[in-house]
Amino acid sequence: MIAFVVYVVGIYLAIGLVLAFPFVFSWHKRINPMTQNATLPFRVLCIPGTAILWPYLLIRIFHK
């Protein structure tokens, strides 16, 4: 059971990490235009949050 949870969390975060890069460098501005002129450190800071919330963010983009 514990192993199952750990692997699911690991896979989920790995997918999120891969998706985080297009998000922070381009896709975020479709949801929040204020990120257009955001600084590089800010984009890097957004990577963990994006890796965690990627399904929600994908839904927001496709909904638009």
């Binding site: 514990i2 192993a3 949870v5 750990v6 969390v9 975020h28 949801i31 929040n32 204020m34 990120t35 002129n37 955001a38 600084t39 450190p41 800010f42 890097v44 800071l45 957004c46 963990p48 949050g49 890796a51 965690i52 919330l53 929600y56 963010l57 927001r60």
Partner: protein
């Protein structure tokens, strides 16, 4: 406050706050290790990695308790307001300390084996309480909170979702209590650490219950000011000018409306909503700094006459029509749209109650 996103929005106050956090954490870890070395000399010497794991764990527990009591404490005494102002940075620092505790434990107990180190640490023997797993789940929640603590996430997720997400801290806190109770404290012959843990939990719980009860009392006991039928509820007499201290506010509640904060800036009054546009902080518990209403929670500022944040920021709050008759303050209960200009109303602070009649 929002203009263009930056990684960290530091100001002089926040830099000092962060410096104090860094120095306190470093000092605590150093002292903990030093005391461990002095009080547990060889042969029952506790090894350095274990001392460090415990030092980071205890430090994280202390920080978590401080974070959880700052909110209710600030409702009770304004002395706690400076702590609340930058709680977010304290929260992220806490996560870093908790993560270091977890990484050290992972390296020490699970490293260099043939098994996946995470599973090696988390897999409890059959029949025992999986306290490491409780800690792991709590750490996941704290990671999510730290990762989404920036205002960008508040704007992206919306107020309600963001708050719901961050309310998970109470589940994480319960998991942490279980993690410590079924973990480190099981092998602890001394009762003091267990009592301290229970005392901490009781403090967090009672402060939350106390301030929660006070809020309920405010809403139900203080009889919201009634609208008067005979004058079409045009103006409501809410208080005397003498009840409002300089650069501070009086919070009033009119039936069917949100709370309103009436601020005194020098010798004029302005009324705005009591709800901050950032995270709903109680503006009326803040004060006027540099001519702006300053929220006690994270320092967002608004001009008293328009409810707008000073440029380049763009937040806005609702304003209300206000009037002074003699010493009495009257308010029109319908809010203006956020950012609407309402001329502040001057009054004579030296006039006595009787002089005005």
């Amino acid at each position: 406050m929002s203009d263009a996103y930056r990684a960290v929005q530091w100001n002089a106050h926040k830099r000092i706050y962060d410096l104090i956090i860094a120095l306190s954490v470093t000092g605590f870890i150093a002292l903990f290790v030093l005391f461990g070395r002095v009080f547990f000399p060889p042969p029952e010497n506790i090894s350095l990695p274990i001392l460090l794991i415990r030092a980071f764990g205890v430090c994280a527990m202390l920080m978590l308790h401080i974070i959880l009591i700052i909110g209710p404490l600030a409702r009770i005494t304004p002395l706690a307001a400076p702590l609340l102002y930058n709680r977010r940075h304290l929260g992220v620092s806490f996560f870093v300390v908790a993560l270091l505790h977890a990484l050290l434990a992972l390296g020490f107990y699970g490293g260099f084996g043939t098994e996946n180190p995470v599973l090696a640490v988390l897999d409890a023997p059959p029949g025992s309480v999986p306290f490491e797993f409780f800690g792991f789940l709590a750490l996941l929640i704290f990671a999510m909170m730290a990762a989404t603590s920036h205002d960008f996430w508040l704007a992206t997720l919306g107020d309600a979702w963001w708050k719901t997400l961050h309310m998970l801290v109470y589940i994480a806190y319960t998991l942490v209590i279980a993690h410590v109770l079924f973990g480190a404290l099981q092998s602890e012959p001394n009762l003091i650490p267990t009592l301290m843990l229970l005392l901490g939990a009781a403090t967090v719980l009672s402060l939350h219950l106390w301030t929660g009860a006070r809020e309920v009392m405010f809403d139900f006991n203080r009889n919201p000011l009634q609208l008067e039928e005979d004058n079409n509820a045009e103006w409501v007499d809410v208080c005397s000018v003498d009840e409002i201290q300089k650069s501070r506010a009086k919070v009033v509640q009119i039936e069917g409306q949100d709370r309103i904060a009436i601020f005194r800036n020098d010798n004029s009054l302005s009324a705005v909503t009591n709800v901050c546009a950032h995270q709903g902080g109680p503006l009326g518990e803040g004060k006027i700094i540099d001519g702006c209403i300053t929220c006690p929670w994270h320092g967002y500022q608004y001009k008293p006459d328009t409810g707008e944040s000073p440029p380049p920021y763009t937040e806005k709050i609702s304003t209300y029509e206000i009037r002074v008759e003699g010493r009495r303050v009257l308010i029109r209960p319908e809010p203006h749209p956020p950012g609407t200009h309402v001329e502040p109303v001057p009054f004579d602070p030296w006039l006595n109650e009787g002089d005005s009649e």
